[in-house]
């Protein structure tokens, strides 16, 4: 009797794992195919699709697609631009949004309630529904730069950065987190005569590691993966980000699939590696968007 039930349990456990693995295969196979295909010449890449060879590093394996891709497009420039735009936006966003949230949670000022409810209301506005008027704004906004006064933000770094520094969700995440911090700590520092800036810098920020990670990860994913906005406002090659740079490969009469796979691998694998090394933080950050209901 006992032996049979143990067998049963083993069988059931095996079935559970079989389901888990099967689902995992569905999620992994396109990415595996991408990475493996990037190592194969076009001819073999296409013919391998009729067998499991499509997912294996077999046959004529080389890095030739990568060399060819670098020849075809200034990939280094695209990657630099994406890293620069994403990095600056994330840093500015963390500062600006945490500072605003600090004011909303810990300070008492007239207009606070009203402004916060307006901020919450903006959560329902999809970016896609404001990009067209924003495009016109970007074409006419003034700027004072190294060249003096100028009109127009198109084809600049700033048009890719500044509109995305502050957003309702980031501020909201900080507000939720700050609310749970012990208020006595802040009040005690104030009693001792600390300035608000000091309380923000030296008391609250050092306690905010988790929410900073959450906000940074969400902003990073949003910025690095942006497509529609840079497509509209960035024509110049020197400031183009990686997603728009794809056009170099797909706007061909005969799409060089091997090179495409190499390019996709180049722009995806660092993000995947980043994700896998900080997996818990990534998943926690998405889960925390769930508190807003």
């Amino acid at each position: 009797m006992a032996v049979v039930s143990a067998d049963n349990r083993g069988l059931r456990l095996g079935a559970r794992y079989a389901v888990l693995v099967l689902v995992a295969v569905i999620f992994v196979f396109p990415l595996l195919f991408m990475a493996m295909s990037s190592l194969k010449p076009d001819q073999q890449l296409l013919s391998d699709t009729d067998s499991l060879r499509a997912f294996l590093p077999v046959g004529d394996i080389s890095l030739n697609n990568y060399f060819a891709a670098f020849e075809r497009a200034p990939i280094g420039v695209f990657v630099f631009n994406s890293v620069l735009v994403t990095g600056i936006t994330v840093i500015l966003a963390l500062f600006v949004c945490s500072l605003a949230a600090f004011a909303f949670v810990f300070l008492d000022w007239s207009g606070r309630g009203f402004i916060f409810s307006v901020l919450l209301a903006t959560l329902i506005i999809p970016y896609e529904s404001i990009f067209i008027p924003l495009l016109l704004m970007a074409s006419q906004l003034p700027w004072i730069g190294t060249g003096g006064f100028e009109i127009g933000w198109l084809n600049t770094y700033r048009v890719q950065i500044i509109p995305f520094v502050a957003d309702g969700l980031s501020i909201f995440l900080f507000v939720q987190y700050f609310k749970d911090l012990p208020r006595e700590l802040i009040e005690a520092s104030r009693v001792e005569g600390a300035s608000w800036w000091f309380v923000y810098r030296k008391v609250v920020l050092p306690l905010s590691g988790p929410v900073i990670a959450t906000a940074a990860i969400l902003k990073f994913l949003f910025m690095y993966n942006q497509y529609l906005w840079p497509l509209m406002v960035v024509q110049a090659e020197e400031i183009r980000p990686v997603m728009v740079g794809l056009g170099y490969f797909t706007d061909q009469l005969n799409v060089p699939w091997g090179e495409v796979m190499a390019y996709l691998t180049i722009i995806t694998v660092p993000v995947l590696a980043f994700y896998l090394s900080l997996q818990r933080a990534f998943i926690a950050s998405v889960a925390s968007t769930g508190v807003k209901g």
């Binding site: 949004c97 000022w109 402004i115 506005i125 704004m137 497509y227």
Partner: protein, 357 residues
């Protein structure tokens, strides 16, 4: 005491100022500009001054008319048929082009029609492509939202088991979420290749050759469905994680109690799990709906709205006008409609799922 310590108008405003100014300038202002531009003929760059045109843009997009085409009859009043026996109708053009008797049909084109007796019932639209985009977007949302939410819940339940190595599977299921939708679209465009494409080969391999290869993206009847499947593949991990955090807020003592009462697994789900997920369910539906309505990159990369406008969607149309044709007012009008639809559906979802007392 506390109020004196926290009361500070100057510091409060100063600290909130950068964030609120940026949001006011780059989210709230363009939001209202969209409404304003939709009432004008604003272009991205034009030598002519911008004029107020009232609701003209909305009329051009949403104008509909219904018309009954009567068959041609000969002198005896008998219906004329062509040599195949099909009924002959007058050309629709006769009514829609400069016909003073039918001002409501002026400039409109046939959207769809059906037969009723000898007559042909025709629905005409001012902008047929926009109408198709509207229908496709709604189709996309109404299929993707429930299917993706359901699959995400199934995955969350699957991953919520206490098994060795389960966190590895969770990490894998979530992986496509961090990959750009542009990358995913291009990858799947290749997977969906006609003939000897990867998906065709996989499917015919699994069915031992029974499966007929098809042109997934090139065929109007499968193109939108293929994009839906891919979008679900990419996004489902996101909502799985939100379900999962909802699942983990349910107290284990409730399950123990259910077990003591002798509840089956199904009953435990029905009476413990599901009621505990209520708020999560509302949130997930609203989030998926908002994301689904914003569908753009997939279309832009994979089909450009084709074949035969079968994958035209709202944001793609807004961009094609506002950016492609530099028609800011037309693009803004679609943006406003998009926002109103998203708002309406979110409110409706909230109302439908409200707590009933």
């Amino acid at each position: 005491m506390a109020s004196k310590l926290t009361r500070s108008n100057r510091a409060g405003w100063l600290m909130a100022l950068p964030g609120t100014t940026l949001i006011a300038a780059f989210i709230i202002l363009p939001f209202f500009l969209a409404f304003a531009f939709s009432l004008t003929n604003q272009r991205l760059a034009s030598p002519n001054p911008t004029e107020y045109v009232g609701l003209e843009n909305y009329r051009e997009l949403l104008g509909l008319a219904f018309f009954t085409l009567e068959p041609e009859r000969d002198d005896a009043g008998v219906v004329v048929r062509d040599k195949d026996g099909d009924i002959k109708y007058p050309r629709l053009r006769k009514f829609t082009r400069n016909n003073p008797d039918f001002p409501a049909l002026q400039g409109k084109r046939e959207w769809f029609s059906w037969q009723s007796g000898d007559n042909r019932q025709v629905v005409l639209a001012s902008d047929v492509v926009f109408m198709k985009a509207l229908v496709n977007t709604f189709t996309f949302v109404f299929v993707v939202a429930p299917v993706q939410a359901g699959l995400a819940l199934a995955l969350a339940l699957l991953i919520n088991q206490k098994l060795k190595g389960i966190s590895l599977f969770r990490a894998i299921y979530f992986m496509p979420v961090v990959v750009s939708i542009v990358v995913v679209s291009l990858l799947w465009q290749f997977i969906y290749s006609p003939g000897d494409g990867l998906l065709n080969n996989i499917l015919s391999g699994i069915t031992f050759g029974l499966f007929e290869p098809r042109d997934w993206l090139g065929n109007p009847s499968t193109a939108l469905g293929s994009i839906m499947a891919m979008s679900i593949w990419q996004g489902v991990g996101f909502h799985m994680v939100i379900w999962l955090s909802g699942l983990q807020t349910i107290s284990p003592t409730l399950y123990e109690a259910a077990e003591i009462e002798g509840a089956s697994k199904r009953q435990a789900f029905r009476y413990v799990t599901w009621p505990g997920l209520r708020n999560t369910a509302v949130l997930i539906l609203i989030v998926i709906t908002m994301q689904a309505f914003a569908l753009f990159a997939q279309i832009d990369v994979m089909t450009q709205g084709g074949p035969l406008d079968s994958t035209q969607v709202l944001v793609f149309q807004a961009v094609e006008r506002g950016y492609g044709k530099q028609d800011i007012s037309g693009g803004s009008t679609i943006s406003v409609l998009l926002f109103l639809i998203v708002l309406g559906i979110s409110l409706l979802q909230r109302w439908l799922t409200r707590e009933r007392t």
